[in-house]
């Protein structure tokens, strides 16, 4: 089956991740169907995706004609049946167990058993999501990292019953997208999330204890270890409520106290200071999500 041509990819869910995946898949020359719950939502997703492409043009990453070509390969629809004509279907709806499970059941009934369904999750259990489906062996996990258009790695995850064929097709798909697939066995948080979250949580703890300010913690890590973003700005840009949910989930799953969300993180989330998109998290941001309170030492230096 891994010799099969991959030409049509279904993306179920047009959120930030879904749009980013759809863009990357289209830019790799494949046809994409993006499915949303209503045609109004589908239109909105299209507009948002186009706006993101415009932003890339402003940043010299893309040209007008490349934007046109990218959009021409993406169809936006409310019709789930369209996914049935794809060779691979990726679900990218929000990180909620019940919602994902309901969708997988629907897809399982709709799709030919040979079509793998890729679950895009960072913390949920593939095996548990697949349980009870007529064809649980077709479920593969793929943890894409945002922005999908530029990150070079993707975690490809085997659940307990994932078939080799489905797994190999997912790996082949990753290569078509120009990404390095890392083969992983299912475990909460996989590699990237599991390693990153305790670091972020500890950074928040350090701020809460008053050891250093948020800006200083980020500056230390950024300049000290050549991080592109400090851990707190990274969390702001992901969304603090998401970071909180992931930590909470890993804590419950493993019982390991290193994943217990720091009280300061809870506080910020309860205040609605969820990060860059909300204008405020650990730092302040303008409407275009540019950070406003960056200290002078945190600017590029030549020589």
């Amino acid at each position: 089956m891994s010799e099969r041509e991959l030409q049509h990819i279904g993306v179920i869910g047009g959120g930030m991740m879904g749009r980013s995946i759809a863009t990357k898949v289209s830019q790799a020359g494949l046809q994409v169907v993006v499915r949303e719950i209503s045609s109004e939502r589908a239109e909105e997703v299209k507009a948002r995706l186009a706006a993101a492409l415009d932003h890339q043009i402003e940043r010299w990453a893309l040209t007008q004609s490349e934007k046109k070509a990218t959009l021409s390969r993406i169809e936006f629809t409310a019709d789930l049946d369209k996914a049935a004509s794809c060779e691979v279907v990726i679900e990218t709806i929000h990180e909620d167990f019940e919602a994902k499970r309901a969708l997988l059941a629907e897809l399982d009934a709709l799709l030919d058993p040979s079509i793998p369904v890729i679950v895009n999750t960072s913390t949920l259990s593939i095996t548990e999501l697949a349980q009870g489906l007529a064809h649980p062996e077709r479920i593969v996990g793929m943890h894409f990292l945002y922005p999908v258009t530029t990150t070079r790695v993707v975690e490809v995850v085997r659940g307990q019953v994932t078939a080799n064929e489905a797994f190999e097709l997912a790996r082949k798909f990753a290569r078509i997208l120009g990404k390095v697939p890392i083969e992983e066995f299912e475990s909460p948080g996989f590699v990237t999330t599991r390693v990153m979250l305790p670091l972020v949580n500890e950074a928040i703890q350090v701020v809460m204890e008053g050891v250093a300010t948020a800006a200083e913690v980020d500056l230390c890590m950024k300049l000290g270890y050549d991080f592109r973003l400090g851990p707190l700005e990274w969390a702001d840009r992901i969304g603090l409520h998401k970071v909180h949910n992931w930590l909470d989930h890993l804590f419950q799953e493993t019982g390991d106290p290193k994943f217990r969300p720091c009280p300061l993180l809870r506080k910020l989330v309860r205040a609605g200071h969820n990060g860059a998109r909300w204008g405020q998290g650990f730092f302040k941001y303008d409407e275009e999500r540019n950070r406003l309170d960056r200290p002078p030492d945190d600017t590029p230096q030549l020589g």
């Binding site: 030409q7 010299w60 990453a61 040209t63 590029p300 030549l302």
Partner: protein, 421 residues
Amino acid sequence: MKILVLNCGSSSVKFQVIETSLEMIQANKDSAIAKGSVERIGMSDSRLSLEVPGRKTYQEISEILEHRTAVERILKVLVHPTQGVLGKVEEIEAVGHRMVHGGEKFASSVLVNPEVEEMIEECVVLAPLHNPHNLRGLRAAQALLSGVPHVAVFDTAFHQSMPPKAFLYGLPYELYTRHKIRRYGFHGTSHRFVAIHTARLLKRNLEDTRIVTCHLGNGCSMAAVKQGHSIDTTMGFTPLEGLLMGTRTGDMDPAVLPWVMAMEELTLAQLNAMLNKHSGLYGLSGVSSDMREIQKACSDGNRRAKIAFDIFCYRITKYIGAYAAAMGGVDAVTFTGGIGENSAEVREQTLAGLGFLGIELDAEKNRNLPRGEEVIITTPASRVAVAVVPTNEERVIARDTVRVLGGVMPSFAVPDNEAPR
């Protein structure tokens, strides 16, 4: 004999069938009996088109997912009972392939054998955007036309005669020995073709001439062709260097790059796209990458378009002077390519200040060119001739194929032009 010429890009294959022979080349009588292309390979609506002189253009749209299928369809349409031009596929006696990068390995066009194929493979790292597709096309054609010889013609080969002082950069020498960072130059088949035809037009031996060739198209480059050898060219390690182009910067201070990357927080991919796709005529003018649009905007009084136009011409002027100096004089300047052949304004402004070199443009001839013909556009009194010679890279590829098969293909390498490894 009939030669099939193939030029494979990432999602397209351009082709021509050329009737040629050593005698026909000598008499300048070789010509295309059909040409066309397959566009949008990998899509469900790929387009194949075929142009045959005297007939309406034929088009078909179908799903063509890979280069092999594209070549298959091309062969099929060529032998089609009503649309085709061949009785049977076996009439094709050889295939000539355009290859972008031959690195330092190829100073000539060559017959493809497994060893040559491996060497082309080794050049992929130098042209990751082009060579893999060229190779894919080559392999598809080899599979489908296994009984005939295949010849590879490289964009870089003609410039392999450059001396080290022209091809090395002022970088640490290890970058040359480790990574082969040096000037290679491109458009070699075009520069060579128009230099030969310019000498012929001047009724002089190529071996006695010093010609500056200007290939001004989508990409733009110039070459100093002395006694038939390229001794310098404006494009470098990649086709970005040298002249201003539609969307490419051409020459600039490389120190700008780390500076811009830091200030704008750009990734390598963004920087590459900025230099190759957002700069040049388009980036400067904000109007278009197309010279016709730029000229129109200029006449409408758009100041940024005028600046872009001026920079475009000024760079060419500068390099004509530089190459005249490099060759110890100049006998002819030749324009070719879409802009070189069609923009009287570019030629006029470029040459305006070059009277001191002995260039005297015939303004009337410059403005009223017979389309598609080789002409001289300077006055009889002009000490340096300026010519317009329409380029024809496919014809060169077909010619080289015949020459390679006939054992008369010259190498462009010259003695003692190697740099120490």
